[in-house]
């Protein structure tokens, strides 16, 4: 187990290093310069460049950038009067974290329940309904779903606030919009696993022993079917992050996602880079945690040394 964790940790560090280097390189490759004001004389531009360390060789800048990043310094935002990017991100992070966690918890729990029910009633109306719902949930983009909810439940019926992030009732629409995709994905996956597990020999053995249906379902079927569901939590985190960008913008939630979108439209490069690194870090960390969890739950993975 120790070797396995170390290996995964190694991958995590290398991947994150690649992301940081990529962000640095793209910042260097970005067209235009930050000092475009025609009032600036060449001397002043040189002074500014010297001040920001832009007159040094790229290699030196790179090392400096890494050093600063290690100290949590991501530079100043163009948009908010040079305020530190890391401070801004930290201030908005809890809101996005709330939204993401609520969606992923809601989606996973209901997805698992729906998947179990569908898997147990294979071929019946319930199963069929779950399948239709899953295909719709996976196919329809979250921004369409958010729009429909916002229009009907927010504008038309006025059941929930159209936008904002204050009080539980304002959480309902964005969390549902974000959770639907997760729910559909988990339900479909769980159903497949349930169907597969139920046809296994050990279930027949359990039936032959005379165990009650409830005991078979709880003790043998669900437990074994749950294991592979852990693997899709990594990709789901990525989906939640992607989804949160649009959901936060649509519902005007003051989190990192809407901040990211607005920094893209205003070309606030330090902010974009900082947020990109934060997202990449979150994603890489969640993949790491999922890999370790999977290794703990299923010993076969440790032996073969990685996911297939």
């Amino acid at each position: 187990m120790g070797r396995y964790v170390l290996k995964r940790l190694g991958y995590m560090c290398v991947t994150f290093y690649v992301v940081i280097t990529l962000t640095f390189l793209s910042m260097k490759l970005l067209p235009g310069t930050p000092f475009q004001n025609p009032k600036l004389s060449p001397v002043q531009i040189n002074q500014l460049k010297h001040y920001y360390g832009l007159d040094q060789p790229v290699a030196v800048q790179y090392v400096k950038y890494l050093w600063n990043l290690l100290h949590g310094d991501m530079g100043g935002s163009f948009q908010f009067g040079n305020e530190s990017v890391s401070t801004l991100l930290m201030a908005k992070f809890p809101v996005s974290m709330d939204l993401g966690l609520e969606a992923i918890i809601l989606g996973t729990i209901f997805g698992i329940l729906l998947g179990i029910i569908a898997g147990l009633h294979r071929g019946k109306v319930l199963d069929w309904g779950t399948m239709v719902f899953s295909v719709l949930g996976i196919s329809i983009p979250s921004f369409i779903f958010a729009g429909v909810l916002q229009y009907f439940l927010g504008v038309y019926v006025q059941l929930f606030p159209v936008a904002g992030w204050n009080g539980p009732s304002s959480h309902v629409l964005p969390v549902i919009s974000l959770a639907v995709g997760v729910l559909a994905e988990v339900a479909l996956f769980m159903r497949t696993e349930m169907v597969e597990v139920i046809n296994q020999d050990y279930i027949v053995t359990a039936q032959a022993k005379g165990l009650s249906r409830a005991a078979i379902v709880y003790k043998h079927a669900i437990r074994n079917a749950l294991i592979p569901v852990v693997t899709i939590l990594g990709p789901l985190t990525a989906a939640i992050i992607t989804g949160s960008l649009v959901i936060e913008s649509i519902f005007g939630i003051p989190g990192i996602g809407s901040q990211y979108v607005s920094s893209i439209t205003t070309n606030d490069y330090p902010m974009i880079m900082g947020t990109t690194e934060l997202y990449a870090g979150l994603f890489i960390l969640s993949i790491f945690v999922v890999d370790i969890l999977y290794g703990i739950i299923d010993p076969r993975i440790r032996v073969s040394g990685g996911r297939a």
């Binding site: 983009p141 960008l245 990109t276 890489i284």
Partner: protein, 335 residues
């Protein structure tokens, strides 16, 4: 019963003539993998219906913008924000040309019909929707084709040669796949500036990984089979074995995966337009149309509805076709 037994006697039966060669004959027609898959695919009603929907949308994307006299970028502020009206269907509330009970066409003194209405700048949404569908489809198609090419090559090399090559290529893949596609796409587009080609490249740069993995798996499975050994012992070259034996045998999996990567490309294009990194005005894509529709969603919902419907139909249909193909090529995977 007793009466029947009496009327049938033993001498009424003769031993049948034995024809030894009949045992060897194959009864029933020979069904190739492709024919079999096709037969199963056709039986899947959802998949066939989806195929028809996709074909219809593709046709509309090609001919739709030419069906009326308004170009997708023609502006006319006199006709801005008109709701949809189709004279023949005006008894339907969605096509009556009325908004909140007021006939907007009468108000502005406009005689012509705009089937999907017009946007803030008076551009015809029917033309723009189909034009946008065209662009979304082109991006998805190019991105997917290149993905297939890169993925099959990478996965093929990795799986076929194995050993150290495989090891190095897999380590690289592992690192690349650890980076969320969102990061790739946003960085690439920031460097290249939004536009048709950068978006296609950015979507391309992330989608090939799944394909490479699948092809590698297929290669690993196939390369130890007897027909490959036979081919090798007959002196076939690597390229012949790869292109004549391995790829045709893994084509089913490649097609299935391609079908799933098309909707993901369509989604990412729409997503990029939505966060402001997509197609620039006056060009339109489904995503950019939905995005501009959202700005007036509460006042003029019809501006979002039609591009939204088209994109939903496309995504659902492609996913169902993918499911249908998966079931058709590999009945074991059917659930």
């Amino acid at each position: 019963m007793a009466a029947a037994n009496e009327s049938i006697t033993k001498d009424m039966f003769l031993p049948a003539e034995l024809d030894q060669s009949a045992n060897e004959k194959i009864s029933g027609e020979v069904v190739s993998v492709w024919k079999d898959a096709f037969r199963r695919f056709v039986q899947n009603k959802g998949a066939v219906a989806s195929l028809i929907i996709v074909i219809a949308i593709v046709l509309m994307a090609l001919i739709g913008p030419h069906l009326n006299n308004y170009g997708p970028t023609d502006q006319d502020l006199n006709r801005s924000n008109l709701p949809p009206r189709i004279a023949a269907l005006s008894w339907l509330p969605f096509f009556s040309g009325k908004e909140d009970g007021i006939d907007v066409y009468q108000q502005h003194g406009i005689k012509k019909d705009f089937w999907f209405g017009t946007d803030q700048l008076g551009r015809d949404l029917w033309s723009r929707t189909w034009d946008g569908t065209q662009i979304s489809l082109i991006i998805a198609l190019i991105a997917t084709l290149v993905d297939v090419f890169i993925g099959v090559t990478y996965g093929g090399i990795s799986g076929y040669f194995g050993g150290r090559t495989d090891n190095i290529l897999q380590r690289i893949l592992e690192i690349i796949s650890g980076i969320p596609s969102l990061v790739w796409i946003i960085l690439l587009i920031l460097v290249m500036k939004p536009g048709l080609i950068p978006i296609t490249i950015a979507i391309m740069a992330t989608n090939w990984i799944a394909m490479a993995r699948i092809v590698r798996g297929e290669m690993l499975k196939l390369k130890n089979q007897e027909f490959v050994l036979a081919s090798t012992s007959l002196g076939a070259s690597h390229s012949r074995i790869i292109f004549k034996h391995m790829i045709p045998n893994s084509l089913g999996m490649i097609i299935i995966n391609t079908m799933f990567s098309i909707p993901s490309a369509i989604f990412f294009e729409a997503f990029l337009s939505f966060i402001g990194l997509g197609i620039r005005e006056p060009q339109a894509s489904l995503g950019s149309l939905i995005n501009s529709g959202y700005e007036v969603l509460q006042l003029h919902p019809y501006q979002t509805v039609y591009p939204g419907l088209v994109i939903c139909l496309l995504l659902i249909a492609f996913n169902l076709i993918g499911n249908g193909l998966r079931d058709a090529f590999d009945p074991k995977l059917r659930h």
